[in-house]
Subunit: 185 residues, 4 copies
């Protein structure tokens, strides 16, 4: 079995940190989409062989970045051939606002995965939402369909919230567990 792929775009480095956490949890390979929305042939080959693909993007203006969307559009030939059918998919996103339409981004990633006839797995995490909840808790941002990270608009990539990174790491771990189960390893 080849490696889990973590394909993502990061504009300023925050989503990169989230992707690294996912990859750490999944034992996966990072495939950063460049600032022109492109991947190398080698990166495409990793995707094509991966049993599971975790997709990530910042939420810009209410959905994935255009660079991520360019990647998505570039999968149309693979879609026509249903070359990614039956892979496992999951998703993550970062933005500055607590809600800020991050769910719209996760919905898009799911929609893309469904077109590719994949299975989708979410965080499997309950939210931290009592009065005792702390910002640094796992899944405090509170998503089910994928991992969300919230980083203030003026915070550097060094300042992302550890609990959000841990949430991302756990998503990666869940993807790895399901990948093993689906492949009877």
């Amino acid at each position: 079995m080849t490696s889990i792929a973590v394909v993502f775009h990061s504009g300023y480095g925050h989503t990169l940190r989230q992707a690294e956490a996912v990859a750490q949890g999944a034992g996966g390979i990072l495939l950063p989409i460049d600032q022109d929305g492109l991947l190398t042939d080698e990166q495409w080959a990793v995707l094509n062989h991966a049993p599971a693909i975790v997709m990530g993007s910042p939420t810009y203006m209410g959905s994935v970045s255009w660079q991520f969307k360019k990647f998505a559009d570039a999968t149309s030939r693979l879609w026509m051939a249903q070359a990614w059918k039956d892979k496992l998919f999951a998703g993550f996103t970062n933005s500055a606002t607590m809600n800020g339409d991050k769910l719209s981004t996760l919905h898009y990633l799911y929609t893309l995965a469904m077109q590719h006839s994949g299975l989708w797995v979410g965080t499997g995490l309950m939210p931290s939402n009592s009065k005792a909840a702390q910002r640094n808790d796992i899944n405090y941002v509170g998503a089910f369909s994928g991992a969300m990270m919230q980083t203030p608009s003026d915070a550097s990539p060094d300042e992302v919230v550890q609990g959000d990174l841990e949430t991302a790491r756990l998503l990666g771990q869940r993807v790895a567990e399901w990948t093993r189960r689906l492949n009877h390893v």
Copy 2:
């Protein structure tokens, strides 16, 4: 011109407080959907005459409560007649989790408004999302398409966040301003 209607369901009183804030901002009439999902004939009459309808529901299991949905389904005859065409619509929701699929609820309220051939107006508020942001800020929860309130799972209706109530009040105020503008008052 008759009054703006604020039609909503509240399970435990939190969404009621949000509805009251909306109604205060809008100068509107509260139309609570009861625990069986019903309105009285008088309440339906207010809705039918209202130039604007603001709809609210807690987010339960990823969308509006069943009581709100029963109300929505009961509008199908009005929909057939397009009796609410060209009214102004807006929406709000409360849940325990920061995200917690509240956007799914707002998307549903918007979808319902579009079936009724309404206009939709959102918060018109920028989010508070810098490092200096405080939980009590206006639109800290951070939504554009409608007003979101987040109340911890173990908090009473007395403990809702004032900033979230103010966000709701401002949505009501925005609906009132647009209602005047649309009706040349």
Copy 3:
């Protein structure tokens, strides 16, 4: 391994036919939600033991029927306990209009499944969308995230489109195949 559950609401019998086709494909058990939005204790027991749950509802006023939503809301205690974690989920819907916000219904079913920490599987079917396409083709209505059926507003349950039923049957079959694979049978 116990049986795949097909839990659904049908208002007038059209969605029932779609549910029967799903159940036929899946080798599953039909669990009709009644007109008050209720299931029996026996039906809940089947759900609790099922390795996979396929959920269906007509699209009424832009989402699932209130009866289906009442069922969804009634799962909140199971959600708190994450009692359905790691089950496989899928969904289907019928409505009178070609689009008619059916995707909104499927999005809701997916959202509910994610809250229950399930895996989601779609149709795995390419759409029939060339000039030679016929209304009776498999996946002519054209959905990926779940099975869609379109039945004219004045058609009886006897008049549903065979190709739409076959689409539903194939979704059931796909759920059965993945259920076997996930459980190493």
Copy 4:
């Protein structure tokens, strides 16, 4: 009052035809986003002065094309300044499949409009969905939140369905009527 803007991307000419129909109905100005996702300074100036903006894109891989998304991302500075606040917005999309996630595209256009604090107006059209319905009917594809066009995957721009163009034209007309009403003209 300056002109209604119809800003859109068309990959192969089908969405262009839809945009032309919208512009005809609205008495609006066509602003085609180029194949690199760019507009000229003059086109941006038209957008900034327009009282209403109708946005259109083909549905590619489940949402707007990357070129449209690049345009959307380029509005982030205008968003920061809320420079488009209180404009009227509407949307349209074309794809090969009857459903094919076109609603996902319209949801995105709406989400973008809400971030810009706009008002959103839909088709205001009932669907043609009885047994007597014909493919060429107005709103046969059947959308409320925006205009949908469905063109088979192997059809040229000359072969788009007239009823879908008329649906688009009526959306444009509705936008023009509301623009007049909102501006008391």
